[in-house]
Amino acid sequence: MMHILLSRWRQGHRTLPYPKTIPPLPERFRGRPAIHPERCPEGCGACAEACATEAITLEASGPRIDLGSCLFCPDCVEACPEGAISYTQEHRLATRTRGDLVASSDGEYRLAAALDAELMRVFGRSLKLRVVSAGGCNGCEVDVNVLGTLAWDLGRFGIQVVASPRHADALLICGPVTRNMELALRKTYEAVPGPKLVIAVGACAIAGGPYFRQEEQLGGAAAVLPVDLFIPGCPPHPLTILDGLLRLLGRLEGEARIGIPT
């Protein structure tokens, strides 16, 4: 018993002070891309050509990246001779609509807005998630799982992963939705009592990820269910996922700072 207490003392209190402060991200972290179209050479499309998931289109205002398809890999950055695309440390990426998942040089990035007043009344202080892994590589699951550890302590925000869809308020879906998982996913959704939400986590669940061309999958959760929150990445950093969940619950406005209900 004593050695357990000693370990407890040695290991210390380690829950991250988020959201009061943002935990440090590694120098090479690849967050929301920044685009500098003024550097684009005339007629160059090297970035779009290099993108394996066809996430980049070239517009009059410069390259436009669909962050739903983006794997946040360095392909486009390395392909560009002029450094017109670079990754930033910006971890906030979640949106409420598929169309908002755009990185371009014009317009502001529309981060996820909070639920409407009625849904907020129901879910604002307690949101139970049922995670469904529907294809994919288990990478997103790794970083969703992490939120349950004492470092992130998801429970302190009133958010919890539950075992049964009957106990759930929302489905959190990872993976491109394989044909082999479609029926199970639909049945799980039907088993969740209404009102209910759907959260798509990761490039696969948003647009099929690296498998977007495969006929074995359906191209993401939205092909099967109405999606209320999109959290991009491959996989998204735990901080990105948590930011999205808290925004949906109206707990983060603008900057990351929020008040935690007592």
Partner: protein, 505 residues
Amino acid sequence: MSPTALLVLRNGQAAPLREVPDLPPAAFREAVLEGVRDGRRLACLCAESDRRLIAVLADDGAGTLHVARTRLDEPRYPSLTPDCPQAHLFERELAEQFGIVPEGHPWFKPVRSHRPWNGAADPWDRPADLPPAVMDFYRVAGDEVHEVAVGPVHAGVIEPGHFRFQCHGETVFHLEIALGYQHRGIERALVGGPHPLTFKMAETAAGDTTIAHAWAHCRVLEGLSGVQVPARADRVRGVALELERMANHVGDLGALSGDVGFLPTAAFCGRIRGDWLNLSAEGCGSRLGRDWLRPGGLRQDLDPLRAERMLPRVGRSWLETRDAVELLWGAASVMIRFDAAGRLDPVQAREIGLVGVAARACGIDRDVRRDHPFGPYGAHPVKVALAQSGNVHSRAWVRWEELAASTAFLSAALEDLAGSPGDPKPDPLPPLAPERLCVALTEGWRGEVLHLGITDTAGRFARYKLVDPSFHNWFGLALALRGEQVSDFPLCNKSFNLSYCGHDL
């Protein structure tokens, strides 16, 4: 037919396809069976288009891979499985992929629930869009026997799979596992490559094993294009692989602790695992090691300054890991549960071709890093961990010893990297040589990862085969459950912690 007639390769070595002996079907069969009788291991058995079979036998003692091919006249042949249980899932897989029927297979069922790629007739004559696990399961008859069905959607943040238990009271007589829910068609998509998505698919075959799969893939490409990787880059790859092992082993030990209700280690390890993942992110920006490697070398080098910064973090994380995990061995309530659950018979384990942590926990002394050394492991060997009991305790203990061995590797490697200048970025690979074959093995944290590439006349992949360690090991979990309580399934399952997506591809 003597096994010496097979083509002998080293791990990662390529050879012209014409040098692979093309045996008549009967001689092929005899060569595989004789090799296995002589103590070799069926590392891979797969089909190609044109009714070809290819087998890779690993001789772990000699560090060699023995390869043979055959061409069948008909889409059927006498099954190897009755004489060689290691072949059982491979034969089901090649039947599903290419419509080739291994006649006399004792448990002939689909693996992933998809149609044959080549348009061949479906061996099971299934209706289109039949979901996985819609089939007859092995059943035990009797008034007092009941069946428990679990999945595909499980309680928790975990991948989908269906488990069917035949139970007598609490006791499990038999467990049958039906997978395929994560099947997204990776192998089919790799044919005709390499293309821009190839590397990403290799990395995401199993996301928690990114480095082991990416490395095996890189070595296939490097073998087929005749490129030598600089020693320093290989050392960095070793750092990436051992960090992946640390994170996953720490996570598993914490989860095992949680499954027996011992919360201190569960809580500590959950957090410490994140520290190891963050070290990978320090190296390459991604906690899972995405885009760290690249064919020919590294995509992101560990420059001396970065290695120097990581070194004390490795030391600190190891001290905390040790402090958290050592609690397990002193807790009687943990030990009694670990010792009593999930014993797998070593003889059976050998017969079914178990690999990795689960094999070493049965006293089967195999580890690719030593037996088929690749990258830095020839010059910088790691100590291979072994345990004898084949139960949950042994599987936990092997992980624990591997944590210490990997930390030693990491510390030495980072120290050397901190004192040596970084490599320039590797040049893009030259085109792959046509009509060649290359087999590459790595030792991921679960066990042996095998990638096999065969190029066509244009230097594109005519066949690309991946074998995740889970493919060998799922049947081991089913065997370990026999005679256990059904309530111990989570504990036994976690002690193997196999990949669904790595199996389903």
